[in-house]
């Protein structure tokens, strides 16, 4: 994609003429973005056991896509759970948390962003972003509880016989409101099983699960204020059922940027890599 379309002319004008890559190694999926030559390229793969190997694969794919070589790379920023393992001898690299990267990514992709709700494979967080510069003002992140996260939804989809994509889509067909009281993954699972046994339709159960999860996320992030414009990031942002449930609870529609927001962290990392290069860290 053309950088001007994705980011807008004003941001692109501030970037140096250099190729950078952001790598976001998540708990379930690894994402990477390349900025350079007036374009933005993205790549995604399942997170492997070895973060460095996963990252190398993504980097090579992006270099091929963009038709550039490793020597053209000015800077790499690594982020996500696997970030600690990342290092390159031949390219200047730094590590930034996914919280700062998501903020910068959502800012670069949508200048008016004030709040980010990010739900990934294992965690949910909300970030208040400075619309002036894409920096984090404040954030809240869940602790060990997995309710509402990607892994949880995967498990529920299995139980209902859906793929992960279907889970969100089908929940929109729900015609009946069921209450799921449990806030806990383990108990919600057994609640789903007994609802199935009672003969409830999977569409209705899926909708109920999304609402319960969204409520849990809303309670977690409420303290931040959730000012619009709100952008929904992370792997779960592609789940339409979750998006709708969250929007109705928060009371604002979310702004949808031009790029799949599973890449928000990787894009933010690539933008930060541009800034690092600019600041002479290279």
């Amino acid at each position: 994609m053309k950088a001007n379309d994705v980011f807008g002319d004003d941001l692109v004008a501030t970037l140096p003429q250099i190729t950078t890559i952001g790598v976001d190694i998540g708990s379930r999926q690894a994402k990477a973005a390349l900025i350079g030559g007036g374009s933005v390229h993205t790549a995604i793969t399942a997170s492997g056991v070895d973060s460095q190997e996963t990252a190398d694969r993504l980097v090579n794919r992006l270099l091929r896509q963009a038709g550039v070589t490793r020597d053209d790379l000015g800077f790499v920023v690594g982020t996500g759970y696997g970030r600690i393992a990342l290092s390159y001898e031949d390219v200047p690299t730094t590590i930034v948390t996914e919280i700062s990267c998501h903020a910068m990514g959502a800012h670069a992709l949508n200048r008016g962003t004030r709040t980010i709700i990010d739900i990934g494979g294992q965690d949910a967080k909300a970030i208040r972003v400075d619309p002036e510069n894409g920096r984090v003002i404040e954030f809240i992140m869940n602790d060990k509880c997995a309710a509402g996260t990607g892994r949880f939804l995967e498990r529920i989809a299995e139980l209902l016989g859906y793929t992960l994509e279907e889970l969100g889509e089908r929940s929109l067909e729900s015609g009946k409101k069921i209450d799921i009281s449990s806030q806990c993954v383990v108990f919600a699972e057994s609640e789903v099983i007994s609802l199935k046994a009672k003969g409830e339709r999977p569409q209705d159960i899926a909708a109920a699960i999304h609402l319960a999860s969204a409520r849990r996320v809303r309670n977690l992030v409420n303290r931040l204020g959730l000012d619009p414009e709100i952008v929904f990031c992370g792997g779960v942002s592609n789940n339409l059922g979750m998006k709708q449930a969250l929007e109705s609870l928060v009371g604002h529609p979310f702004t949808t940027p031009k790029l799949d927001m599973v890449y928000a962290g990787a894009v933010g990392a690539a933008v930060l890599a541009q800034r690092h290069y600019q600041a002479g860290h290279a």
Partner: protein, 398 residues
């Protein structure tokens, strides 16, 4: 343990603490051994009676937690579970098994119930601590509870504990508290000569070492630290506020100081700076002095009014010039978990960024903990860079 645990030269003190614990377990000298849980228990009385004594706040091991969990519901905090687990005859901790008598002032519901479970393992005296710290009636009542405590201690050692003995201990402990304050004062320097981990070790010493031993060792170290030269580095300054940080619960501070390179410069919790902020009256009735002194100390969030705790917390953050506060409470903590919003809102309103962390003694969440703390420090570093930039711009234009 190696020297790299501490940045200051704390190994001799660390060794003293270990030796004292061994002596406690081995019953060297045959003195009776008393333990207590909470910073509202005056050790002055225990020391006046010539007891060997220690605050029992070892925790942090998931095994001990699960040992204690056999006696409680899951919704007790990991600290209270650890207290039970450590006293449990199977498994448990030899240091706790060596205790002849446990004294505990009723603080939060979990710890009160924990003490009632522990009664089956060790003779325990449960005493009352009034909540309304500013009422005259609270002071009279607390004084009478301290007299019960003294009588109980006297019975344990088989001799009277005199007023003048207690007065002498108040003066001695005041000296120690003042010295710990002086140590903490050094952390107000832009480049503190001791880390947060160092200070926690000094506090640990306060709760295990006899005050006379402590004074000799600590005064020497203080002189040395006070002369430390500033090497020019300006680490990000943090305050930790919230629940108890047990002896053995170091993972957050280790993460902050050893992995990320920021500094904890002050603690608003009962196992850091907080218990040393106050000096007791040294004249008149020693029991009234203890009652007033312990109620007037920087309050735990279980005390009322909560505003006193909030005022202390925000005041301390300002006094130590911190860049941010990490508010950390144990899951299910009935005091700090429930009043968290008041703390977060008040600190935020005073202009200090706050990171909220709910914690326990498991190890599986270290990745998430690290992400949160690192991201918080990225925010603080960004704000600091902005301030520097603004200042230099103002300088140019001014």
């Amino acid at each position: 343990m190696t020297n790299s645990l501490f940045s200051a030269d704390l190994l001799p003190i660390h060794a003293l603490i270990e030796a004292e614990q061994q002596a406690f377990i081995a019953d060297e000298g045959g003195r009776k051994r008393a333990g207590y849980f909470c910073a509202y228990t005056p050790p002055e009385i225990l020391n006046a009676a010539g007891l060997r004594h220690a605050r029992l706040f070892k925790a942090g091991s998931p095994e001990i937690v699960s040992q204690g969990e056999r006696y409680t519901q899951s919704v007790f905090c990991d600290f209270s579970k650890s207290c039970i687990g450590a006293f449990d005859k199977e498994g448990g901790d030899p240091f706790y098994h060596a205790v002849d008598k446990l004294y505990t002032f009723h603080t939060c519901a979990s710890m009160k119930r924990a003490a009632e479970v522990i009664e089956q393992f060790v003779p325990t005296t449960l005493l009352n601590l009034p909540r309304l710290r500013n009422e005259a009636a609270s002071r009279d009542f607390f004084r009478s509870e301290i007299l019960h405590y003294r009588d109980d201690v006297a019975e344990l050692v088989g001799r009277a504990v005199t007023d003048s003995e207690v007065s002498a201990q108040i003066a001695l402990y005041n000296k120690v508290r003042r010295l710990l304050r002086d140590f903490s004062e050094l952390r107000k320097r832009p480049n503190p000569p001791l880390t947060g981990l160092d200070f926690l070790e000094l506090v640990r010493g306060f709760y295990y070492l006899p005050p006379a031993t402590l004074l000799t060792a600590y005064e020497k170290l203080y002189q040395k630290l006070a002369r430390t030269h500033d090497d020019g580095s300006r680490p990000i300054r943090l305050m930790i506020s919230g629940s108890i940080m047990a002896d053995g619960d170091r993972r957050l501070v280790e993460l902050i100081e050893r992995e990320i390179g920021a500094r904890v410069v002050v603690e608003d919790h009962c196992t850091g700076y907080r218990p040393f902020a106050h000096t007791l009256r040294e004249d008149g009735d020693p029991f009234a002095a203890l009652a007033d002194g312990y109620l007037d100390q920087a309050p735990c969030a279980r005390m009322k009014p909560l505003d006193d705790s909030l005022d202390f917390s925000t005041g301390l953050a300002e006094e130590y010039g911190v860049d941010g506060v990490i508010y950390v409470y144990l899951k299910f903590c009935a005091c700090y978990g429930v009043s968290k919003l008041e703390f977060l809102d008040r600190l935020t309103a005073s202009g200090v960024p706050v990171l909220e962390i709910s914690s326990d003694y498991s190890v599986s969440d270290i990745g998430q903990l690290k992400t949160r703390v690192e991201a918080f420090l990225e925010v603080l570093q960004g704000q600091r860079d902005d301030r520097i930039e603004t200042n230099s711009k103002e300088h140019v234009h001014g």
